[in-house]
């Protein structure tokens, strides 16, 4: 009797988790010929949650984003969008699901058609979804969409080249949100912008996310930018996740040496702090994704790597409030911090 009830409640839990999950990546792999750009990434984003995917160029973070919106077809694993497996859907099958997920790219100059009016760019998603609207209704939807991102409705009659970089990125965001997606993939949306404009676009994204409540995968190389936005942070290195956890957890107690190095390297706009902190220098070369290092992929650049790191692949293990893939992380969740500890005093792997 008890067992039956247990099973029932477990089934209910699973169902609840399913309706709550907007995106689930299961062991996602994307190999371009011999290049293993993404090599086994599992990630879940819940409704209304912002997850930041952080890593250096070449880590495969943008490829993850392209797999999610199915600009490319993954070579392995699964992408589930709101419970539907979209990994191998054809273009026409995918169309029904396009409204659920949108993407904003880094360079708005390259992602907006220079020959289209802003109004047509913003209205295009509606058209593609076959929403039938009168001319007046359509104009209203466009005006609302532009107003929502802080642009005047008159902008609809302009071409992208007449706008500034920040305004263009707002147009990209307006277009992406037109279909009321449950998930927005933002791929380095502010990297091409100046500091003051970047601040405005980050604030806008944070406001919209709070008001509309879409979930967001925010892809970036800049850890300092995600602290304002993200609930969760996933750190990627050479096609794989090395650490994942809540924002507070990652910033307070990063456990993976790579996460620690990223945090230590992010420049601080304060001469005193910037010059007095311990520098963590990684070797320059990100190894090739065609021939990733054996064992822990980070071992070739890791300042505390030992022989075991080159031989044994560390699994992504739950530790404290985060998941970490590193041999040095102990059972109790404690880990050496390369920002404070000298390599000699860190001891042997757990």
């Amino acid at each position: 009797m008890n067992e039956v009830r247990d099973e029932e409640s477990r089934a209910n839990e699973v169902a609840a988790a399913d309706t709550d999950t907007v995106l689930e990546l299961e062991d996602l792999a994307m190999h371009f010929g011999p290049v293993r750009a993404v090599d086994g990434v599992s990630l879940r984003i819940r409704r209304g949650q912002v997850t930041a995917l952080v890593g250096e160029s070449g880590s495969g973070k943008s490829t993850v984003g392209r797999c999610i919106v199915r600009l490319v077809e993954p070579t392995g694993g699964a992408v589930r969008l709101g419970g539907t497996d979209i990994t191998h859907l054809s273009r026409s099958q995918m169309r029904r699901h396009r409204r659920e997920v949108s993407i904003v790219f880094q360079d708005p100059a390259g992602s907006l058609d220079p020959r289209m009016l802003v109004g047509d760019i913003v209205a295009e998603p509606l058209q593609l979804q076959g929403v039938r609207l009168s001319r007046k209704e359509r104009a209203e939807r466009v005006s609302d969409g532009l107003r929502r991102v802080g642009l005047r409705p008159e902008v609809a009659r302009r071409y992208p080249h007449e706008l500034s970089g920040g305004q263009r990125q707002r147009v990209s965001i307006a277009r992406a949100l037109m279909s009321e997606p449950t998930l927005l993939v933002a791929d380095e949306p502010t990297s091409a912008l100046d500091v003051s404009v970047q601040a405005a676009v980050l604030n806008l994204l944070a406001d919209l996310q709070r008001d509309i409540g879409f979930a967001c995968l925010f892809i970036t190389h800049d850890l300092s930018a995600v602290e304002y936005l993200a609930d969760d942070i996933a750190v990627m290195y050479l096609g794989q996740l090395v650490e994942q956890g809540s924002r507070a957890e990652i910033f307070a107690t990063p456990r993976h040496p790579y996460t620690q190095a990223l945090l230590a390297a992010a420049p601080v706009a304060d001469p005193g702090r910037q010059r007095s902190r311990t520098r963590v220098l990684l070797g320059d070369d990100l190894p090739s994704a065609m021939d990733p290092p054996s064992g822990c992929r980070f071992h070739t650049r890791c300042p505390i790597a030992v022989a075991r790191c080159a031989e044994e692949v560390p699994e992504l293990r739950r530790s404290g409030g985060a998941s970490v893939a590193c041999h040095f992380v102990h059972e109790d969740g404690s880990a050496p911090d390369i920002r404070h500890d000298q390599p000699a005093t860190t001891g042997s792997p757990a």
Binding site: A199, A206, Y228
Partner: protein, 352 residues
């Protein structure tokens, strides 16, 4: 921790680079554009000066105009003296001799600045063959030393590599090796780390600092990234719409920014260690204007929180900042009718 000051004996030495009243105007199909207006700038031996501002503020045009790298559509007025020698209006042969030997550049994108069909060793050696008249073999030998100097491991092997075989950070190190091949007095680094990952950025800044410490090279760093300035500069020059709006020692500028543009830039930069939900980033509304001619007004007025009628009717001169506290080693000057005075650097919370 304060900025590492250049050796005492060098501070009083005459500047290696002295820029006076530099103005640059471009002729375009639709009229002229004023990019730089009345810039005065000097660089002491062994000093690292940072120029900061957003795109369109004239910082790169200033840097390019120093050794005559601007296109013919640019009209340059004023004076640029490199170790006493005038460069504005100098003959092409004079400029050619100066470039690479006395004044050298590092650009943002190392891939497009390197020749893809020559080995990096050949490219570094070429500079030495031209300027130092070394033989091919001597130059290649020296190239190996230079690559090692900028922190490229197994340099003897690396000289044989082509640019595409190197990572972005390594390519930028090659660019630096080329730039310092003839021990220039002045090194101009235009966004040297912008195209690089943060984990690589610190290493490049270390190389630049090391060059200054070992050879007394004066470095002008142009960047939009206040983190880079905080890391490496002794002095900072803030540019806005072609004019210098503020200059000070680095610690000073970050502690007591006087111009509202400088203060705005500081609080718009995300700083790790602060948490989301508690505050927002400060925005600076509006855009850097594109000016046909420099008006007799403060060009920041229409974006400035403290602007008054006076700001749009007269251009504020660059004058010593009205500060009670000691100014420190470097003069602190600001071009603003309503400077922030003794108020500390705005925190993000102020604007929440």
């Amino acid at each position: 921790m304060t900025a590492t000051a250049p050796p005492e004996s060098l501070v009083d030495a005459p500047p290696v680079l002295d820029v006076r009243d530099l103005s640059v105007t471009f002729r375009t199909e639709t009229g002229s554009v004023s990019a730089v207006d009345g810039v005065n700038l000097s660089l002491a031996p062994g000093e690292i000066v940072g120029i900061v501002g957003e795109s369109g503020c004239g910082k790169s045009v200033t840097a390019m105009s120093l050794a005559g790298l601007l296109p013919r559509s640019a009209r340059i007025d004023g004076s640029v003296r490199l170790q006493g020698q005038e460069l504005v209006g100098a003959r092409p042969s004079t400029l050619r001799a100066a470039r690479g030997r006395d004044i050298a550049y590092i650009f943002q994108e190392p891939m497009s600045s390197l020749n893809p069909v020559l080995t990096v060793g050949r490219q570094v050696a070429e500079v030495l063959q031209v300027h130092e008249r070394l033989s091919r073999r001597e130059a290649l030998e020296r190239a190996v030393e230079l690559l090692a100097l900028v922190g490229i491991p197994s340099a003897r092997e690396r000289v044989k590599h082509y640019p595409h075989q190197l990572s972005g950070g390594m390519r930028q190190r090659v660019m630096i090796a080329m730039a310092v091949a003839c021990s220039p007095k002045v090194l101009i680094a235009d966004e040297p780390t912008t195209a690089l990952d943060v984990t690589v950025q610190a290493g490049i800044l270390d190389v630049l600092r090391d060059l200054r410490d070992r050879f007394g090279t004066s470095i002008l760093v142009i960047t939009h990234d206040l983190g880079v300035i905080a890391d490496i500069a002794d002095r900072v020059v803030v540019m806005y719409a072609g004019r210098i709006v503020e200059r000070a020692g680095v610690q000073r500028l970050f502690d007591r920014p006087q111009h509202h543009y400088a203060a705005g830039l500081l609080s718009a930069s995300p700083t790790p260690g602060r948490h989301a939900g508690t505050h927002r980033l400060q925005e600076i509304p509006g855009l850097v204007p594109v000016l046909e001619a420099q008006p007799d007004a403060c060009t920041f007025a229409d974006r400035c929180p403290a602007a008054t009628a006076r700001c749009s009717s007269a251009a504020p001169p660059l004058e010593p900042a009205p500060l009670a506290a000691d100014v420190g080693d470097h003069p602190h000057e600001v071009a603003c009718w309503h400077p922030r005075g003794d108020r500390p650097r705005p925190t993000v919370e102020e604007h929440a």
